[in-house]
C-alpha cells in the first residue's frame, strides 16, 4: 500500500479459537480515519467472530490488535466504546417502544437540576437529537415517536448518528443492509458515507459485494475463518470482487450446474 496516514485500528494476524474449533486465524486489516474498510464473507466465514473481537465482546488469542499503534486486548464492549470504537448491530440496536430521543441518549442521559430535583433534561435531549440527526442529513418528522415506527433503514441511520454524536472514531457496522430493500439499503449506505466524511473510520461487515463496492476503500475477504484476499479499491473491480466473494471457480461451476448447457443466457 502507499504511504497512508496512521491507521486508527489495525489487526495483524489475529486469530480466535473456541475450544478446538479455529473460528478465525491470520486475519489482518487496517482502518483509517475517513475511510471505509469492508469485510466480506459468506455465512460462517468468521465475520461475526471478527466483529466480536473488534468490539470487545470476545478477546483474540493470536496475533495483535492495535488501536493508535498500541497493542490492546479489550475486556468488554464498554472498553471498546471508551476507546472510540462503536458497534451498531443490525438486530439489537434500539428499544422499539421508546421514543427516538430516549433511544438516542439511552445509557448516556443528560441531566439538569440538583439533589432530589435532578432530572432528565428532556428538552435539551430532544433538541440535540434533532440536531445530530440533521447533521447526518437525517430528516426525522418527530423525535418523540417510538423508534419502532421508523423503517429498518431509518433505525440503522439513527444508530449511526448516535455513534457519531457520542464521539466514536471507528464505527463497526454489522450487516447494516442485510434485511433491507434496495432503496433503504441505499439510504443506509449514504449515511455510512456521511459518517466517513465526518472523519470516522468505518468497518462495514457485509456479504453483499455490490454494497461494499459502492462505499468501500479497502476490501478484506474472509473464507472459512481465514483471509481470502485484501484489496485496495483501485486494485479491484466490482465483477472481480463479486467473483472472489462467491468463490471464484465455484460460481462458474454452480452456473454450469444450474443452467446445464444453456450457459449463453
Amino acid at each position: 500500500m502507499t504511504a497512508a496516514p496512521e491507521p486508527v485500528l489495525a489487526l495483524d494476524g489475529v486469530g480466535k479459537s473456541y475450544g478446538t474449533v479455529r473460528a478465525l486465524h491470520g486475519v489482518s486489516l487496517t482502518v483509517t480515519a475517513g475511510e471505509v474498510t469492508c469485510v466480506l464473507g459468506d455465512n460462517g466465514a468468521g465475520k461475526s467472530t471478527l466483529i466480536k473481537i473488534i468490539s470487545g465482546l470476545h478477546q483474540h488469542d493470536g496475533g495483535t490488535y492495535r488501536i493508535d499503534g498500541e497493542p490492546v486486548r479489550l475486556p468488554s464492549p464498554r472498553a471498546a466504546l471508551d476507546r472510540g470504537i462503536a458497534t451498531v448491530y443490525q438486530d439489537l440496536a434500539v428499544v422499539p417502544l421508546m421514543p427516538v430521543w430516549r433511544n438516542f441518549f439511552l445509557g448516556s442521559e443528560l441531566h439538569t437540576g440538583r439533589g432530589p430535583l435532578r432530572r432528565l433534561d428532556a428538552a435539551r435531549m430532544r433538541a440535540t437529537t434533532r440536531e445530530a440527526l440533521a447533521r447526518m442529513g437525517i430528516d426525522l418528522r418527530d423525535v418523540d415517536q417510538p423508534i419502532g415506527t421508523l423503517s429498518g433503514g431509518e433505525r440503522q441511520c439513527v444508530a449511526i448518528a448516535r455513534a457519531v454524536h457520542f464521539g466514536a472514531r471507528v464505527l463497526v457496522l454489522d450487516e447494516p443492509t442485510a434485511a433491507l430493500g434496495v432503496k433503504q439499503a441505499g439510504t443506509v449506505l449514504r449515511y455510512v458515507a456521511a459518517a466517513r466524511d465526518e472523519g470516522l473510520g468505518v468497518v462495514l461487515i457485509t456479504h453483499n459485494p455490490h454494497h461494499a463496492h459502492l462505499v468501500g476503500d479497502r476490501f478484506v475477504l474472509l473464507k472459512r475463518g481465514a483471509m481470502a484476499g485484501s484489496h485496495a479499491r483501485a486494485d479491484i473491480t466490482l465483477d472481480e470482487l463479486t467473483r472472489q466473494m462467491a468463490g471464484g471457480g465455484e460460481l462458474d461451476q454452480l452456473r454450469h450446474e444450474l443452467r446445464g448447457e444453456a450457459q449463453s443466457s
Binding site: 422499539p96 439511552l106 445509557g107 448516556s108 417510538p146 419502532g148 429498518g152
Partner: protein, 355 residues
C-alpha cells in the same frame, strides 16, 4: 355492562392513521398515552354506577371507594413499574401478609415498641424482594417461575411460621403495645376534612407513590432504564445500561410497597390472618394491565395502574351499593381485563407499525 369500556378505540376513526404524520397533533399525543384506555374505562364505570346505584355518589361511599382503590393501588403501582421492566411478581399478595406477620410477631415476641417490628419487617420484606431479583438475574429463569416459587414458599411460610410461633392461624393482637397509636397514625389512620369527608391515609400513600413512580419513570435516568430493560434488554445492555441492577431495584421497589401495604394491614386491626393475601397478586397485575402495561414489558404507566386500581375500587364497592350479589365482581373484572388487553394490543400494533 362493559359496553362503555369498548369505547376507547373510537377516537381512532376520526384520525388519519398514515404512517408519516407531519406534525404531532395534541389528540395524537393523547392517543399515544398508555393510560388512555384506563381513564376512559374509569369514567365509564363511574358513570355506570352513578346511574344504577343511588348511594354511590355520597361522600361516604366515595371515600370507601377510594380506600378500596388505594389498598390495591399501593401495590399496583410498583407492580406496573416491574412489568414495564419486563418482569412479573406473583409473590406480591402473600408478601404483603408476610410483611405484616413479621412486623407483628417481631414486636410481640420481643415485647418491644411496635416500631421495632416495623423496622425488622422492612428489612425482611426487602430481603424477599432482593431474593426474587437476585435469583432472576443469576439464574435467568423466567420471573414467572421464580416468583411462583416464592409465592408458594411464602404462602406456606406464613401459615407454618405463624402456627409455630403464635400457636394459631392469626397473630396475637399488638394493639395495646407501645408505639401502636403512632404507627397506626402513619399506616392506618383516617383524616377528616370538613364535616363529612373522611380520607384514609392509604389514599395519600397511593397518590404519593403514584406521583413518585411517575416522576421516576418519565424524568429520571432510572425510568429510562426501566423502559429500556423491558423493551429490549439486549439493546439496553449494549449501550451500557446496568440491566441486572435495574431489575433488582424494581423488585426492591415492589417489596418496599408490600411493606407499606403489610403495615397498613397490621395496624388497621392489630392482628393478621396468616392465610390472607393469596390471589391479590393477580389483582395487582390486572390493575397494571388495565392501566396500559404490556405483559411483554417496555410500555405502561404508573398513573394508568393507579387508574386501574380505581376501576377495581369502584367496581368492588359499586356492586355493593347497587345491592347486587358480590359474586359478580370477579366476572366484571375479568371482562374489563380482556377488553383492556385487547386495547393494549391495538395500541402496541400502532406503536410498532414499522413499514
Amino acid at each position: 355492562m362493559t359496553a362503555g369500556t369498548a369505547a376507547p378505540p373510537a377516537p381512532e376513526t376520526g384520525r388519519p392513521s398514515g404512517p408519516a404524520p407531519q406534525r404531532r397533533a395534541p389528540a395524537r399525543v393523547l392517543l399515544a398515552r398508555p393510560e388512555l384506555g384506563a381513564v376512559v374505562g374509569a369514567v365509564a364505570v363511574f358513570a355506570f354506577f352513578a346511574l344504577v346505584a343511588d348511594s354511590f355518589l355520597r361522600p361516604g361511599s366515595l371515600s370507601t371507594v377510594l380506600y378500596a382503590a388505594s389498598t390495591i393501588g399501593i401495590m399496583a403501582v410498583p407492580v406496573a413499574l416491574l412489568m414495564i421492566g419486563g418482569e412479573f411478581d406473583l409473590s406480591t399478595g402473600v408478601m404483603v401478609t408476610s410483611s405484616a406477620l413479621v412486623s407483628s410477631m417481631a414486636s410481640y415476641q420481643m415485647t418491644a415498641n411496635v416500631w421495632v417490628g416495623v423496622g425488622v419487617s422492612l428489612l425482611v420484606t426487602l430481603a424477599f424482594g432482593l431474593f426474587n431479583g437476585w435469583l432472576l438475574v443469576r439464574t435467568r429463569l423466567p420471573s414467572f417461575i421464580i416468583t411462583l416459587g416464592t409465592f408458594l414458599m411464602l404462602t406456606g411460610l406464613n401459615l407454618g411460621a405463624t402456627k409455630l410461633i403464635s400457636g394459631g392461624v392469626a397473630t396475637r393482637s399488638i394493639s395495646d403495645m407501645e408505639g401502636f397509636p403512632s404507627a397506626s397514625a402513619v399506616f392506618a389512620s383516617q383524616l377528616t376534612l370538613g364535616d363529612d369527608v373522611r380520607v384514609r391515609v392509604t389514599v395519600l400513600w397511593w397518590l404519593g407513590l403514584t406521583a413518585l413512580a411517575t416522576w421516576v419513570l418519565l424524568r429520571t435516568r432510572a425510568g429510562n432504564w426501566i423502559f429500556a430493560v423491558g423493551g429490549n434488554g439486549a439493546a439496553a445492555r449494549a449501550v451500557g445500561v446496568p440491566v441486572a441492577r435495574t431489575k433488582i431495584g424494581l423488585y426492591l421497589g415492589v417489596a418496599l410497597c408490600a411493606w407499606v401495604s403489610g403495615q397498613h394491614l397490621l395496624f388497621t386491626y392489630g392482628v393478621v390472618q396468616s392465610g390472607e393475601g393469596v390471589g391479590n397478586e393477580l389483582i395487582y397485575i390486572a390493575a397494571a394491565v388495565i392501566g396500559g402495561c404490556l405483559l411483554t414489558g417496555g410500555y405502561g404507566s404508573a398513573v394508568g395502574s393507579a387508574v386501574g386500581a380505581l376501576i377495581f375500587g369502584m367496581t368492588e364497592k359499586g356492586i355493593v351499593y347497587a345491592q347486587w350479589d358480590h359474586d359478580w365482581f370477579k366476572f366484571f373484572l375479568g371482562a374489563m381485563l380482556l377488553l383492556a388487553t385487547l386495547l393494549n394490543a391495538w395500541i402496541r400494533r400502532r406503536a410498532e407499525a414499522t413499514r
